[in-house]
Symmetry: C2
Subunit: 194 residues, 2 copies
DNA sequence: GGCATTTTGTATCAATAGATGTAAAAAGAA
DNA sequence: TTCTTTTTACATCTATTGATACAAAATGCC
């Protein structure tokens, strides 16, 4: 049999993802990726392909993290619509205080970076981000049916408002705004919708 | 006397600014900047300094555009507080439909890019962005004094909510969301505050 | 132990990055 | 015309970019 793999696949993806997350695609040279992952060039190109492909894998890895959060909150059917929504935003706001604070959101960052000229990656980023929107929309439609939505909006508009606030939140967390203020912004936005 | 300058200073700044705006700092190589401005290397380094310095000049140029918009809207004392605020967001939403559509905001894009590791530029971006916040806060304090602000918020929180919505707007305009939907998001957000 | 297979480590590639130096060009002044 | 000054144009520098090739190393199978 062949020589066994020495690196831990998950760890490499996590470290590379954080590098792209922190500094963006363009500023993350292959050398930096080698430094933060600890693997060497041969291993990277053999096991993860070129930089574009590697970035896509990191996006996928990031999406898994998002999916976990969604499963515990928005997609958790044990929670009532608004409870689920509030929990999702609580988690998101709280996340800005840990070590990944001030890094914002890899997907939002990618929207704003030049990555947009790569149609391939752009589509991927949009698709991943739309997962959050879908989960949110579902719950807001539930709330609407239950008469728990502010009569002046429909579920679609309410979703847009919350997604817009979410994107703003991600930008401002990267800008360094304290979680307390971010929380108050979201709290008000939510209260205006119910 | 010396040889006269051939390039138009304003035009060079405008074209370079749009390049940075579209593709970000890292992806905008000096060669690309030469291509879009039409000047050559010597001229660029002689008249605009290195890439960092050039970028700062472009940020300043961008800020002038922002200032013009602010003067006509938020800082226009002839308009009542909420009229000024509504006009500012109208202009901002409408701007997403012209040729600069889908480019978002240079300042927000810069927050999200790796530029953040350059403390110097980061401070500049923050300072320019805070100009908008200051103008907004002033008007919301006026509205608060006049009893035209929703009692459940103070001027500070209202400003945060609107700035958050603004940042979200910029992200989503870059993502390609239609102006109509962006307008409805803002319209609801404003109405929730008055 | 020798063989096949895969990973790892390193050397190296051409292309491009940002940046600088210098000579030619263009104007008015003397 | 000649001189001075500044811009412009081009050549060139070193470092780094993403990417590839290939030998050394490490395993299980025979």
């Amino acid at each position: 049999m062949a020589r066994p793999v020495e690196f831990v696949y998950e760890d490499v993806l996590t470290n590379a993802m954080e590098q792209f997350w922190r500094e963006g695609f363009e500023a993350s040279s292959v050398q930096k990726l080698l430094d933060v992952t600890g693997i060497n060039r041969g291993t990277l190109y053999n096991s993860f392909g070129d930089k574009d492909t590697f970035f896509k894998s990191c996006l996928e890895h990031y999406n898994k993290l998002v999916d976990k959060e969604l499963s515990a909150t928005l997609n958790n059917e044990e929670l009532a619509p608004w409870a689920a929504i509030e929990k999702y935003f609580d988690v998101t706001v709280m996340a800005t205080t840990n070590k990944r604070r001030s890094m914002g959101c890899l997907l939002v960052n990618s929207f704003c970076e030049s990555i947009n000229y790569n149609k391939d990656i752009q589509k991927l980023v949009k698709a991943y981000y739309s997962n959050i929107r879908k989960a949110l929309l579902k719950r807001l439609k539930d709330a609407e049916k239950a008469g728990e939505l502010n009569k002046s909006v429909n579920a679609e508009l309410a979703t847009d408002v919350l997604m817009n606030a979410l994107s703003g939140l991600r930008v401002h967390s990267r800008e360094g705004k304290p979680a307390k203020q971010l929380g108050e912004i979201i709290q008000f936005t939510i209260s205006s919708l119910r």
